[in-house]
C-alpha cells in the first residue's frame, strides 16, 4: 500500500517538474541580466519588462486583441444564448441539427478554413478579407463548440424546460421566466464557457496570422514578430501572456468549484484539456528560443 502511494507521489512530482521547468526557465530568462555559463542567471533585471511595458506597439496589439475577443465572445453569447434556449425548450426536435452545426468547426483545420474564408470574402458582395471583421467571424466559429456545450449543459442540468413550465403556470411570461428563473441559474455556467473561449482566443495564432497578419497586429502577431529580436523580451511577453491566461483559468476554476452544487461535468474536462494545450504551447515557444 505505502510503497504504491510513494510511487504515485513520485510520478506526480516528476510530472509537475516536467511541466514547470520550461515555465520557470522562461521566467528566469525574462528577468535575467547576464546568463551564460551558470545554472542560474548571474544577475537579474526588470529591464525587459520595462521595455515591454513602454512599447506602444505592445499596448496597441493588446487593445486590438481585446477588441477582437470582446467582440467575438460577446457576439457569441448574444446570439447563442437565445438560440440554444429557444431550441432546447421549444424545438427539441432540432437539437440534433444544432449540435451537429456547433461541432462542425472541430473538423476543419484552421489553415484550410482560413484559405477558404479568404477566397470567399476577398471579392463578391462581402469584401472583408484582411479586415478584423473576418477574424471576428472566424473566432465566432472557433468558439462555437465551447459556447454551445457550456450553455446547453447548463440548461440541461438545470432542467430549464420544467422550470419555465412552472414559472409560466405561476403567471410569468416566457421572457420573464427566462430572466428570473433560467438566466440566474446558468449565468455562472455561461461565464465559464466565456472565459474559456477568451483564453482560447488569446492563444489563437493560425487564423490571426493568415487572415489579417500584420495589417491588424494582434498580441499573437506581435509576439511572433518579437521572437526574431530579443529572446529576453520574448520571454517577458510569454510570461505576461501566461499570467493573464492563468488569471483567467483561475477565475474559471473558482467559478466551477463554487458551482459544485450544480456540476457541469464537461466544463471540468474542458479545463483539463485546456491546460494541456497551454503547456504544449509554452514548450514550443521555449524550444524556438534556444
Amino acid at each position: 500500500m505505502k510503497s504504491s502511494l510513494t510511487i504515485h507521489k513520485v510520478i506526480v512530482g516528476l510530472l509537475v517538474i516536467y511541466l514547470l521547468i520550461p515555465l520557470v526557465g522562461t521566467f528566469l530568462f525574462s528577468i535575467a541580466g547576464k546568463w551564460d555559463h551558470t545554472i542560474l542567471p548571474e544577475s537579474y533585471t526588470m529591464k525587459w519588462y520595462i521595455e515591454l511595458f513602454q512599447d506602444e506597439r505592445f499596448y496597441d496589439a493588446f487593445r486590438r486583441t481585446l477588441f477582437l475577443i470582446v467582440m467575438s465572445v460577446g457576439l457569441s453569447v448574444v446570439i447563442m444564448l437565445p438560440t440554444i434556449f429557444i431550441i432546447t425548450v421549444y424545438f427539441s426536435k432540432w437539437e440534433g441539427l444544432l449540435q451537429a452545426v456547433a461541432m462542425l468547426p472541430y473538423g476543419i483545420p484552421p489553415i484550410v478554413g482560413a484559405v477558404g474564408l479568404i477566397k470567399v470574402y476577398s471579392d463578391g458582395p462581402i469584401q472583408i478579407a484582411g479586415t478584423p471583421w473576418i477574424l471576428i467571424g472566424a473566432y465566432f466559429i472557433t468558439i462555437l463548440p465551447f459556447m454551445y456545450q457550456g450553455i446547453r449543459n447548463s440548461l440541461r442540468t438545470l432542467n430549464a424546460v420544467q422550470l419555465v413550465d412552472a414559472a409560466e403556470l405561476l403567471g410569468a411570461t416566457k421572457f420573464q421566466a427566462f430572466r428570473t428563473v433560467v438566466f440566474p441559474n446558468i449565468i455562472s455556467g455561461i461565464l465559464v464557457s466565456t472565459l474559456l473561449s477568451v483564453a482560447l482566443l488569446f492563444s489563437e495564432f493560425a487564423f490571426a496570422n493568415l487572415l489579417v497578419g500584420g495589417r491588424f497586429e494582434t498580441l499573437q502577431i506581435y509576439l511572433a514578430d518579437k521572437l526574431n529580436s530579443s529572446g529576453h523580451l520574448t520571454s517577458a511577453i510569454v510570461i505576461t501572456y501566461y499570467s493573464m491566461i492563468l488569471l483567467l483559468t483561475g477565475t474559471v476554476l473558482k467559478l466551477t468549484f463554487r458551482n459544485e452544487k450544480y456540476p457541469v461535468v464537461s466544463n471540468k474536462k474542458r479545463i483539463l484539456s485546456f491546460f494541456r494545450k497551454q503547456y504544449s504551447h509554452k514548450n514550443t515557444t521555449l524550444e524556438g528560443e534556444k
Binding site: 438545470l158 432542467n159 420544467q162 422550470l163 413550465d165 412552472a166 414559472a167 409560466e168 403556470l169 405561476l170 403567471g171 410569468a172 411570461t173 420573464q176 428570473t180 428563473v181 440566474p184 441559474n185 452544487k261 450544480y262
Partner: protein, 337 residues
Amino acid sequence: MSYVTIDQVTKGYENQVVLNDISLVLKKGEFATLLGQSGCGKSTLLRSIAGLEDVDLGRILIDGKDITNLSPRQREVGMVFQSYALFPNMNVFDNIAYGLKMKKIKNIKSRVKKMIEMVDLIGKEESYPHQLSGGQQQRVALARALVMEPKVLLLDEPLSALDAKIRKNLQKELKRIQKELDITTIFVTHDQEEAMTMSDRIFVMNKGQVVQSGSPSEIYTSPVNTFVAKFIGNYNVCNMEAFRKLVRSTELKGNEVAIRPEVLQLVSVGEDSLDLQENWVIKGIIKDVSMTGNVLRYEVETEESVFLVDYLHHRGNMFEQGARVHILVPKKECIIL
C-alpha cells in the same frame, strides 16, 4: 354542478395517440385521482389541462369557461410537478412568493406567511431548495401553487419520490389542506393504494382512455373489466371455461370471473364443514406462502390456474407449503366480466 369538464379530448404525438377521446367531469371541491399504468397518458392529460400541451381535439372547461386555447398563465391552474421544479436560485419565501410577484398581487408577505404556516415550514423561509429534504421541497412546491388560490390544483405524482413513511404523512396532510381550502384537485398516481386512501373519485386510465370512474369502493368492489380488476387489488381473474370446470357447474355465463383474494377461504382437505349453498369449492395445493406486513398471501395451485388467497396474519391461519386444501369461493363475490 360540473366545475371541471374535459370534453372529448384527443391528443397525439407523431403517429401515436396518447389521449383517445377522453371525457370527464369533476364537481367543485372534489379530490379526483387519475390512476393508471406508466405511459397511459396521465401526465399528458394533466399538462393539457395546465396548458403546457395543446390538445388536437376537444375542449377543456373550468368553472364554465372554455380554457382550451388560453396560455398557461391565464388558466388559473396550479400544478405540482413530480420533480418539484423549485427555483434553485430562490429561497423558500421567494419561491412561494414568485407567482404573487409576477401577478403583482398586494400583501405578498402576509399571504406567503400564511401559506408557510399551512404547510408547516416555519423557520425554513430563508433556506434554499438544495438545503431541504424531499418532503420539505414537496411542501414548498405545494405552497407555491396554492398561494395563487388556483381554481384547480394539479398534482403529478407528487409523492412518488418520497419514502413510504413520509409519503403516508404527506398524504394525510395533503388531504387536510385540500379539505381546508376546499380546492378542486386532480391527483395523478400509479399507486392504487394511494388512490384509494386519498380520492373522492377515481378515474382508471388505460391506453389514453378512461376505462372506469367512481368512488374508491365502487372501483374496488365492482371493476368493469379485466384490466381494472387486475390493476386494482390483485384480483384473481379466471377464464370462465376453466372456472366452470373447476367448480363443476354450467350455470355461469360471461367470459371471465374476477375474485378478490381476501374473500377466499382455505379449508384443509378432510374437514367437512363446507357450505356448498353459499360457496363454490375448488381443490388445490399450497404452492407458496409470502408475507407482506400484516397479510399472509397463499398461492394455491388448482387444476386450471393459480389462485391468490389473502389472510390476516395471525396464528391459526397457518397452512404449510404443499398442504392439500379446499378453496371456498363465496358465490356473491364472484364478479362476472
